[in-house]
């Protein structure tokens, strides 16, 4: 069979984000798979070194749209650890509640996208309709549907009053029986099970060896959860079960994520029930004393690691962000071995990739005068066409002529 190399991405309906994969196919079988990342490379780590700590909280929150609270909490915890700030317990509880709400909306989002990848659009429509319930709660508690801006160094910026708590509990109840319905659908819908099971298998040993994290690892029986192993915020005082599964495939990951949804509801109820009173933030010094800290957070996709090094000034010396998708991405190659082209989108979606986290790395402020000059549209087009003639051997010029004489 002649081998065919299929470029998937950076613009592809299955991938909501730009990353490009080159898949070598013979017939429908996947032979080789290579990923080319860096399309989302906006460079945040170096930008953090240009900004003060408070500005950094604003910037770090925009690393990723779905797990913005994850990154901001992780960063803020590291800074508080260096400055040895005594964060009030109520702030810790509020952070935990917002973190779990974010996990709920992220998992529901993933369930819908998984349904869409498999051609089951009704699941997308239903799960995203129920996700609006969580988004409304987050909107009226934190003021914004995404990028909540809840965290500040030394605590939280908004408090939960009785009205918020009442509406939150009501929302959690409605979501709980919706999730039970989805678990039942995942267990009974023949075509969905057919498309998810025995796809993208990752054995237990591979998961450990390749360093998979989060639901991808837990679906292969790896019992690791940063909330329990290395408790932060209020997780030390809450009891919850770590959901694992031994299907080792996409179906297992679906069940793990839905199990985690049920756990999140339990955590939110516990956290609200024994939420202590008291202040929600303390004043933090502008200059953070020299020191370094590593903080780990269980993001919906896996373990998120922030390393912050302070040098006594009001700007961090170094900020390193390792997103969970970077770890999980190494396992995709193993999962796709002798898979089928039809399974590629669902396998990639199964690790719930968030390439905005993965490519954040380095950027520097532009030196010199900020000159704003528009580039003439034709130069851009011709420059693009040149680049494509030498690099890819595709001559757009003929196409251009056809287009231009039609336009006349």
């Amino acid at each position: 069979m002649r081998k065919v190399v299929i470029p998937i991405g950076p613009q592809h309906p299955a991938l909501k984000e730009p990353e490009s994969f080159n898949v070598t196919l013979s017939g429908e079988r996947i032979m080789a798979f290579s990923a080319r990342l860096g399309y989302n490379h906006r460079g945040i780590e170096k930008a953090c070194e240009e900004r003060t700590y408070l500005q950094d909280v604003y910037l770090i929150e925009r690393i990723c749209g779905i797990c913005s609270h994850t990154h901001s909490t992780c960063f803020v915890q590291a800074v508080e650890e260096i400055a040895a700030l005594e964060v009030p317990r109520r702030a810790l509880y509020i952070r935990t509640v917002i973190g779990e709400l974010e996990r709920i909306h992220s998992h529901l989002l993933w369930l819908g996208v998984a349904g869409h990848e498999v051609g089951f659009d009704t699941l997308l429509m239903y799960t995203w309709r129920d996700r609006e319930v969580v988004m409304d709660i987050l909107a009226d508690v934190t003021g914004n549907r995404v990028n909540y801006g809840m965290n500040t160094i030394g605590g939280v910026r908004r408090d939960l009053d009785a009205a918020h708590i009442k509406s939150m509990l009501k929302a959690v109840d409605t979501l709980e029986d919706r999730t039970k319905y989805y678990i039942q659908v995942a267990r009974e819908e023949r075509t969905l099970i057919e498309r998810l099971s025995k796809v993208g298998t990752l054995t237990h040993e591979d998961a450990v060896k390749l360093g998979a994290v989060g639901p991808t690892a837990r679906a292969s029986g790896v019992d690791r959860d940063t909330r329990r192993d290395d408790p932060y915020a209020a997780y030390g005082e809450l009891d919850f079960k770590v959901v694992t599964d031994d299907h080792n495939d996409v179906y297992g990951r679906t069940l793990v994520r839905m199990g985690e949804l049920m756990e999140s509801y339990k955590i939110i109820r516990q956290a609200i029930k024994n939420m202590p009173d008291g202040p929600i933030a303390i004043k933090s010094p502008r200059r953070i004393p020299a020191g370094e800290a590593l903080s780990r957070y269980e993001a919906p996709r896996g373990e998120d690691v922030h390393y912050v090094k302070a040098n006594g000034t009001d700007r961090p010396e170094r900020v390193k962000v390792r997103a969970p998708t970077l770890a999980n991405l190494q396992t995709v190659e193993k999962m796709l071995e002798d898979g089928q082209l039809a399974d590629l989108p669902i396998v990639i979606a199964a690790i719930d990739p968030c390439f905005s986290c993965t490519d954040r790395s380095i950027v520097v402020r532009r030196s010199g005068v900020r000159s704003k000059n528009m580039i003439r549209w034709e130069d851009l087009r011709s420059r693009g066409i040149e680049w494509y003639r030498e690099n890819r051997g595709i001559d757009f010029a003929k196409l251009n002529r056809k287009l231009s004489d039609r336009m006349r």
């Binding site: 290579s34 990923a35 080319r36 990342l37 860096g38 490379h41 460079g43 780590e45 170096k46 915890q77 650890e81 040895a84 005594e86 964060v87 317990r89 450990v208 060896k209 390749l210 360093g211 690791r224 940063t226 192993d229 290395d230 408790p231 932060y232 020191g291 370094e292 800290a293 590593l294 780990r296 373990e303 690691v305 390393y307 090094k309 010396e317 170094r318 390193k320 390792r322 970077l326 770890a327 991405l329 190494q330 993965t358 490519d359 790395s361 380095i362 950027v363 520097v364 402020r365 532009r366 030196s367 010199g368 000159s371 000059n373 580039i375």
Partner: protein, 165 residues
Amino acid sequence: MTEAIVGATAKEEAIRQKLVERFPFLADKVRATRPRRIFALVEAKDFENVLVFAIQELGFTILCTITGLDDGPTLGFVYHITRQDGITLNIQYDVPKENPVINTVTKYFPPAEIYERELIDLLGARVEGLGEGVRYPLPDDWPAGEYPLRKDWKKKISDTEAENA
């Protein structure tokens, strides 16, 4: 973290003891800042056996990530490794900036490859033993010899403006 103020607990002390007993020169270089966090500063030449010791005897089998630092004359590399019960050991060693050569740890941690590629791209480190691979995270047409993470590296104006300046 309320316990942060209390300082390290017994377990961290035990690990610290084992490390110092095995590598006497580490005596004042290993400190446990808070529960489940141990920072160690080692010489570049001893890094390999400290790492092997940590993996085999102390059970740090999971690599979180590798951080590259630019401390002026030298480039620092911090290896964050952790284990099942959450204790994280961060081993740092420095390499002179002139020839920033480190050897790969993909033998012990296969996923380290992508972190090392990131160091190559952004800090200009040269990693021995790392095969050819896809470039991450800088674009292909990125001018060679430019390492954005270095403190002295300032951004020139972007190439589209350069064309028209």
